[in-house]
């Protein structure tokens, strides 16, 4: 860093401090960030409270079931055969289901992301997964349409505008005031001058963004002790920095064309409009046209057909089921009328029949996502959105991770109960404590970091390229108007 650059930065700092703009923008920025983090954190607290209520319901239900089992063991009659908590089939689907909970990730307060659309807990039963996975949170659809005012919104949309407001007239204003010619008459190149000016602004804006975000985050009472918080915070700040760098670079490039300040403002506002609003919407059109997700309506019908078909074949399926699972009836007699075993067999068959439909559905959805992953680099706003959601743990990746865990748990749950149901075991109270329990494991921080890095690179490369082009074009800048 040359002395000249340091001097320019110091000088710019004095001007910036003396100018009104920063003093208007900084408190406004603080307010927006504060409001954003506050909203994000109240959504996070709402989720926490819901999960707590679910845990409590489970505890109470288990206590009730165990008490009833004990009293039945001692000779009392169950209220009805369908609700006898000693029956494994009843326990597996009514009295004993456990919740699979996905507690908000440590930085969830920073980006609501897709978390207002994705379920965050499931009551896992031995029934088909479709019966418990449509567990949407209640929300006014008009609110979902508008989206939440969270920190990610401030960063993706407003922060670029703040950057552009500070730098659209970076050089053009100097020329319009007549100070540029004076400046350039000194032994300093225009490029060093521009670098100094933009560098200082970048430092100030980034410091404000990082400082306010961190302060607001800490004010929500979020702990810094959870696993991976520091790494995630660091990644978050890095993405914010790289995203900001892109917009600063764009401001240099536009300034380098040598138009007046008003034209620069219009050009930059237009680019913001295209990159942050129009392009993402067009990208959405492209993604959904190339990989149209099959209609859920058709899927509902397919499920219904499969279920009817399987039910009609009930007895056949039951016989086949005994054939396929000799280990379950070993030592005992296969009951050809058994209602519970039959329903397991019917359900397995239904699941098997609709699997192709679900597979097709998943394929298209994955296709959309991977197409988006490739083409998001067209718009830095989309790159930033997916990276920030990912780091906050409110994007698609963590949800899929959660669904994977739930899937494994569901199989585990069925594996635990199926033999007991078929063998008509009778549960004792202590068996309730031995039911499988769901453990949420956070995605490894390395996986999150790896994905975030791709996003970071996707922001930094265009930023550097544009900055380089801008600085190069500055060589031909005409100082006189």
């Amino acid at each position: 860093m040359s002395q000249t650059l340091t001097r320019i930065i110091k000088h710019e700092w004095k001007i910036l401090v003396a100018d009104r703009t920063l003093w208007v923008i900084a408190p406004l920025f603080a307010l927006l960030i504060g409001y954003g983090v506050y909203n994000g954190s109240s959504w996070m607290r709402f989720q926490d409270a819901t999960l707590e209520a679910a845990k409590q319901e489970e505890r109470e239900r288990f206590a009730r079931a165990k008490a009833e089992v004990t009293s039945i063991e001692q000779g009392a009659q169950p209220a009805s055969a369908f609700s006898n908590p000693r029956l494994p089939s009843v326990a597996a689907s009514r009295t004993g289901p456990r919740y699979a909970l996905a507690p908000p990730a440590p930085l969830a307060a920073l980006a609501v992301g897709q978390s207002d659309l994705y379920p965050y807990y499931f009551k896992v039963t031995s029934q088909s997964k479709q019966t418990f996975t449509a567990n949407d949170e209640i929300e006014n659809p008009t609110n979902l349409l508008a989206g939440r005012f969270d920190l990610a919104f401030v960063i993706i949309y407003l922060y670029p505008l703040l950057i552009l407001a500070l730098s659209y007239n970076l050089i053009s204003a100097e020329r319009e005031q007549g100070t540029l010619a004076m400046m350039i008459s000194q032994p300093v190149s225009l490029r060093t001058f521009a670098t100094g000016k933009i560098g200082l602004r970048a430092l100030v804006v980034l410091a404000l963004a990082a400082g306010f975000s961190l302060a607001a985050f800490l004010l929500t009472g979020a702990g810094l002790s959870a696993d991976g918080v520091w790494l995630r915070l660091l990644l978050w700040m890095a993405v914010v920095g790289a995203y900001g760098a892109f917009w600063f670079a764009l401001a240099i490039l536009v300034n380098a064309f040598g138009r007046n300040s008003a034209t620069n403002a219009m050009a930059l506002a237009g680019m913001w409009l295209v990159l942050a609003l129009i392009l993402p919407a067009l990208l959405n059109v492209a993604v959904t046209t190339i990989y149209p997700v099959p209609s859920r309506v058709e899927m509902i019908q397919a499920t219904r057909r499969a279920s009817a078909e399987a039910t009609a074949k009930g007895s056949q399926l039951l016989a086949k089921y005994y054939e396929d699972h000799p280990e379950l009836t070993a030592g005992g007699q296969a009951d050809t009328n058994d209602f519970y075993t039959r329903s397991i067999a019917v359900q397995d068959e239904t699941d098997r029949l609709i699997q192709p439909v679900i597979d097709h559905f998943d394929r298209q959805a994955t296709g959309q996502q991977s197409l988006l992953d490739r083409f998001r680099f067209l718009s830095p706003a989309v790159v930033a959105q997916s990276a920030l959601n990912d780091i906050a743990g409110t994007g698609a990746a963590r949800y899929r991770h959660f669904l994977g865990l739930v899937d494994a748990f569901h199989q585990n749950w069925r594996a635990h109960f199926t033999p007991r149901i078929v063998q008509k075991a009778l549960l004792v109270a202590d068996d309730y404590d031995r039911f499988p329990a769901f453990m949420f494991r956070e995605e490894p921080a390395g996986a999150v970091a790896g994905r975030a890095m791709i996003g970071l690179i996707g922001l930094l490369i265009p930023a550097l390229l544009i900055a380089w082009l801008g600085l190069r074009a500055l060589r031909r800048y005409s100082v006189a108007q």
Partner: protein, 473 residues
């Protein structure tokens, strides 16, 4: 005089390369979004028509079975779309597409399309509504920010006024000129859009929704007029054209981007809604023991028993000429229906209060007002969703009651061994839903419409006054 000024402004704008480019882009986006909206509408309509027919078939083709099993099997209801939804998808991506109508339960709508979409959905849909709510106002700003400030900077304002042009005439002339240039974009776009929609939709469906579309068009005109007036007023008042641009862009951002989100979080805080978990728990609790916690299932069963015995003058249940299980099932339904009405009623009212607050906030940001009107007329606002949900629920209740009544009066002593013949399934009519009338849609939007009109009136008063005070240099 006004006409001359307007003609000059109009010609100048049309010759401006920036306007041509911007207008071309807006035109292409508008056209593309109308075509895609039309395609989306047709796809969804076809799927839903097929599914509706199939779910009905499934219901009718049930074998002889116990009526209560049939009620448990139930049917699915699929939310139909109206033709104007091609212009504004509204909340449709964020409400479930179908609801399962079955015994005992008023289910939530399931499968919100946005859940199956990528996070890109949150940047907003490219619809004609989005183009008209966001991009056209921006175009208006670009057209008019320098109208007065620019003339002043070039020194032509002084010249113009020296000719004895009245300032108010100048104001109206400029406004007409801008409106004319905008019209040169909007009128062909509308004509082509309507033709494109008409060519792709079945006969009649477009004609049926013509009033809604015409009203939509007029509401958007109100919105555009406020923007034209506002831009001219700011241009007359601002110190420089650069200042006018900055002020107008800031307003555009607050109006189009910040207001909707900021007000959403405020509305949520003022009118909180329960979590789905708490909602379900409260319903379960009341299903068990009534709203006050004393009306337990046992008590209700006993009361029903006494009532029925008295009604038929019988001593024991076995002596009844009707099937008590059927009556008791229906009694359970009636109890549940009251619980659902109370809870869903409260929930939906909270949603509506939230939406009402957003409508009122249209006083600060007209986008909130036009958004609400537009969705309402397109049939894609929450009110239309609620109307459909209520119709589906009422159908469910009729269906379940028919099944229970059949058990009560035809099952005799057989209880759950009783099998009804397929003729019973046919006695339940198919679910037919009439979309609400245009008048109904408008009545839901009175607040927003009033606010739009207020904006126009206020602007049309303020704009000439501001221009009258325009500084010459």
């Amino acid at each position: 005089m006004i006409a001359q000024i307007a003609r000059k402004e109009f010609t100048e704008t049309l010759r401006d390369g920036r306007f041509r480019w911007a207008a071309a882009i807006v035109f292409v986006l508008l056209f593309a979004s109308v075509v895609m909206g039309g395609k989306h509408y047709r796809d969804v309509k076809r799927q839903h028509d097929l599914a509706r027919a199939e779910t009905r078939e499934q219901w009718l083709r049930q074998p002889a079975k116990n009526p209560h099993s049939a009620a448990h099997y139930g049917i699915y209801a699929f939310k139909p779309k109206m033709a104007p939804s091609a212009l504004d998808r509204g909340v449709d991506p964020f409400v479930g597409q179908s609801v399962w109508l079955e015994a005992h339960k008023q289910n939530e709508f399931r499968f919100r399309p946005a859940q199956d979409a990528t996070a890109l959905q949150r940047f907003g849909d490219l619809t004609a509504a989005a183009v008209m709510q966001l991009l056209i106002p921006l175009l208006i700003i670009l057209l008019s920010f320098s109208t007065f400030a620019g003339e002043r900077e070039q020194g032509t304002l002084r010249q113009l006024l020296s000719l004895g042009v009245k300032k108010t005439n100048l104001a109206w002339g400029k406004a007409l000129g801008v409106a004319g240039a905008l019209g040169a974009l909007i009128v062909p776009a509308t004509v082509i859009g309507v033709i494109a929609l008409a060519m792709t939709s079945e006969n009649g469906s477009l004609a049926a929704s013509a009033p809604r579309m015409a009203l939509m068009f007029m509401s958007y005109l109100l919105y555009f007029i406020s923007f034209i007036g506002l831009s001219l007023a700011v241009s007359a008042r601002a110190k420089s054209s650069q200042m006018a641009l900055v002020i107008l862009l800031a307003f555009w951002i607050v109006n189009g981007l910040i207001a909707t989100r900021a007000i959403t979080d405020i509305a949520k805080r003022l009118y909180p809604t329960p979590s789905a978990f708490a909602f379900q728990q409260a319903i379960d609790r009341e299903m068990q023991s009534g709203p006050d916690g004393h009306d337990t299932a046992d008590k209700r069963a006993e009361a029903l028993k006494q009532r029925v015995l008295k009604q038929y003058g019988a001593e024991k249940l076995e002596d009844l000429p009707v099937n008590f299980a059927g009556l008791s099932l229906q009694e359970g339904e009636e109890h549940g229906n009251a619980v659902f009405d109370r809870h869903y009623g409260q929930l939906w009212s909270s949603f509506e209060r939230q939406n009402r607050l957003k409508q009122i906030a249209g006083l600060l940001a007209p986008m909130l007002a036009i958004q609400s009107v537009s969705m309402g007329l397109a049939g894609t606002d929450f009110a239309h969703h609620r109307d459909f949900a209520a119709a589906a629920e009422s159908y469910r209740r009729t269906l379940v009651k028919k099944m229970n009544d059949d058990t009560a009066y035809n099952a005799g002593k057989q209880d759950f061994g009783y099998l009804a013949q397929p003729a019973l399934w046919r006695t339940v009519e198919g679910f037919r839903y009439e979309s609400p009338s245009t008048g109904w849609a408008l009545r839901n939007q009175t607040v927003s419409l009033a606010i739009l009109v207020l904006w126009v009136v206020a602007i049309l008063v303020v704009m000439p006054l501001t221009v009258a005070k325009v500084k010459i240099d």
